[in-house]
């Protein structure tokens, strides 16, 4: 079946009113500049021109586009996805008035972020968290920029980085995820519009959480952001991204790329709370989330840690991975993925051990409810030179009801006999006796379910920065609403 990604405003509004569970499903009414639908070389040239990009970047885009045209959508994931018509969506949407400072931002947009719990005015900012906010294709504002600059930390939108720190972008863009890496990464490389850039200089420990908030607002557009984080020798940074989108009766595509690079003794901690619109109870609408995230521990003793809480999106396809190049480097992946109603997730990680004494840890928690299908797919690869590599994998699934599914595909490729790998996997059902026990102590059925599922996810939540762990617990409870009784 083929569903056109078409505009149907009245229908979308009606469904918004009928379907109250997803509280971020509102639309912000701002004057937007949106490209006509369709994708071709001219669209890419126009994006590049609007962003006043240097010639080499346009070439990077066009090169990626040519490769993309020859590639095929991957079909190995355990996902049923309606055919995406890449010529029926727009590749660029921006509020017409470009803000110069916070005072110039359309009050409607400020209100949007306020509703999302992300006040942009610095005085109201969550203590110790710097925020970059991406609204559709354009990054609006980065708070705390000056304070960070004193330490030499660069935290800005990708577009700004291209202008102000061109040499860094030129050096690192596409180094971890080459433009031709996979179908969606190539598409992203061709049409990416904005995202965040972070550079932490040698020996600097970033004193606050860096955070980006992504918001899809315009209808009928895809969102293609690109994030690049470089941690120089001995530096340390913790970064968090959050995502929401309005409710639409048609599906929208989100194909992002995130590249991380850690030099000697550097640590990058990357946390995601993904709450894109998951579609309605009948599986209509929702975000198609096809994301490529990869980090390279190029330096000795470096560490990259991914923590993700995936509760949104109709379809999730992502495998945040670590290439452990440097000796003694460490890769970690902590994941909670929840699928309710008709949501599908195929997610996991790749740990590629290249250096000596490299270590990786994988903890994956899949929760399936309703008709949801949840797949863990992971690869642990140990190369010939990776002497004494270690991996620990724990992969747990929990089922709520009898119409959902949990699937596990662990792949292991070992070329060095000194490797030591451990793999543990469990699948369980939320027991009626557990729910009854909680009810007998005075809790409602839904509170009981949320308590049990949060307990199941505890090992992952404890990896999140504290404020976000609280948010993750709350989000999980909301996402489970209606899955019992």
């Amino acid at each position: 079946m083929r569903e056109e990604l078409k505009i149907d405003n009245d229908q979308a509004t009606k469904e918004m009113l009928e379907n109250e569970e997803y509280k971020y499903g509102f639309v912000t009414d701002v004057d937007q500049d949106v490209f006509p639908v369709g994708l071709n070389e001219n669209v890419i040239r126009e994006i590049s021109k609007r962003k006043e990009e240097p010639e080499w970047l346009l070439k990077f885009r066009l090169n990626a586009y040519k490769k993309w045209l020859k590639m095929k959508e991957p079909n190995w994931a355990k996902l049923k996805v309606e055919k995406i018509d890449y010529n029926s969506m727009s590749y660029f949407a921006t509020p017409k008035e470009r803000p110069e400072s916070l005072d110039d931002i359309d009050p409607e947009i400020l209100e949007t972020y306020d509703k999302l719990g992300i006040p942009l005015e610095e005085q109201k900012m969550l203590e110790g968290v710097a925020v970059d906010a991406v609204f559709d294709s354009v990054s609006l504002v980065t708070t705390f920029k000056d304070k960070l600059a004193e330490l030499g930390i660069i935290f800005c939108s990708f577009s700004e980085a291209v202008k102000d720190h061109e040499s860094l972008i030129k050096k690192y863009l596409g180094r971890v995820i080459p433009a031709s890496d996979n179908y969606f990464a190539a598409l992203n490389a061709a049409v990416f519009t904005d995202g965040s850039f972070v550079y932490v200089p040698k020996g600097v420990r970033c004193p606050m959480e860096l955070s980006t908030y992504f918001r899809i607002n315009a209808e009928n557009t895809g969102q293609f952001e690109r994030t690049l984080i470089i941690a120089d020798e001995g530096s340390h940074v913790s970064y968090l991204e959050g995502c929401t989108a309005p409710k639409r009766s048609t599906s929208q595509l989100h194909a992002a790329c995130v590249e991380l690079l850690a030099h000697d003794d550097a640590t990058i901690k990357y946390s995601t709370i993904q709450n894109w619109y998951p579609g309605d109870k009948n599986g209509k609408g929702g975000i198609y989330n096809f994301v490529t995230k990869r980090g390279n521990c190029v330096g000795k003793n470096s560490r990259i840690s991914w923590t993700q809480v995936e509760t949104g999106s109709a379809v999730t396809w992502k495998y945040p991975s670590c290439i452990l190049t440097g000796d003694n480097s460490v890769g970690e992946f902590y994941s909670v993925a929840l699928t309710n109603n008709w949501q599908q997730a195929d997610t996991g990680t790749k740990m590629i051990h290249l250096g000596k004494n490299t270590k990786s840890t994988i903890v994956s928690k899949g929760i399936s409810a309703g008709q949801g299908q949840n797949t863990y797919r992971g690869l642990v690869q140990v190369s010939e030179n990776a002497q004494d590599a270690r991996n620990y994998t724990q992969c747990d699934s929990i089922l709520i009801g009898d119409k959902c599914g949990a699937h596990t595909f662990p792949y292991i490729e070992i070329k060095n006999p000194s490797a030591q790998l451990e793999h543990e996997a469990t699948t369980s059902k939320v027991g009626e006796d557990q729910i009854f026990y909680c009810q007998q102590r005075g809790m409602s059925e839904e509170d009981a379910l949320s308590l049990i599922v949060n307990g199941f996810c505890k090992e992952v939540f404890k990896e999140l920065p504290f404020e976000f762990a609280v948010e993750a617990e709350r989000l999980l409870s909301v996402s489970l609403e209606g899955s019992v009784g």
Binding site: F436, Q439, Q440, M443, I452, G455, K458
Partner: protein, 246 residues
Amino acid sequence: MLEIKNLHANIEDKKILKGLNLSIGKGEVHSIMGPNGSGKSTLASILAGKEDYEITDGDILFNGESILEMSPEERAQEGIFLAFQYPIEIPGVSNSYFLREALNSIRKSKGEDPLKPVEFIKLAKEKIKHLKMDESLLNRSLNEGFSGGEKKRNEILQMSILNPCMSILDETDSGLDIDALQIVANGVNAHKDANRSFLVITHYQRLLNYIVPDFVHVLVGGVIVKSGDKSLALELESKGYSWLEN
């Protein structure tokens, strides 16, 4: 306080309770004894509101109101507590978090403000000291990796914190050594007062040396065949149940 009238109940068309009558007044301790399969645990589950059973006749009144249409959590909020024969494990959820959620659910139903974590910990530590239990019990995952005795003691701790007026103990003594039995019994006795009632379900007279019942009932084949005072328990201990059957 609790009045069970002519209760008939089935599970999957099998008749378990066949016209059970029982009346428990304020501050009274009643004990139900009986052979395996006589319906003791079924009665406990039905009082707590477990859905697996079909009530075909009769009624259960709690403080004069029928509770048959009430959900398990509504019954708990009204003050009915069941100490489980086999307490359930919930991995990743600490005992203290679970208890605070439970207590705050009950407080909320009464229109009271929730207890803050600090206030709750203070209360829990008081209770735990009073019951001569180990504080580390609070920080462990709910019942996970607990020994049989620890699980049963934890049920009593929960009772003491949630402060119900009608406590049902379903074979809380089974699997306990004599020291654990004493701790459990002390917990119950400390909770006992003029407004709180107990229904103690047990196989053995032993427990009743520590928790002295006002009434003892014998349940056989889904009905109460004999009632008496605590001396009945001693009689059962020496004579068994067979003389009461058929």
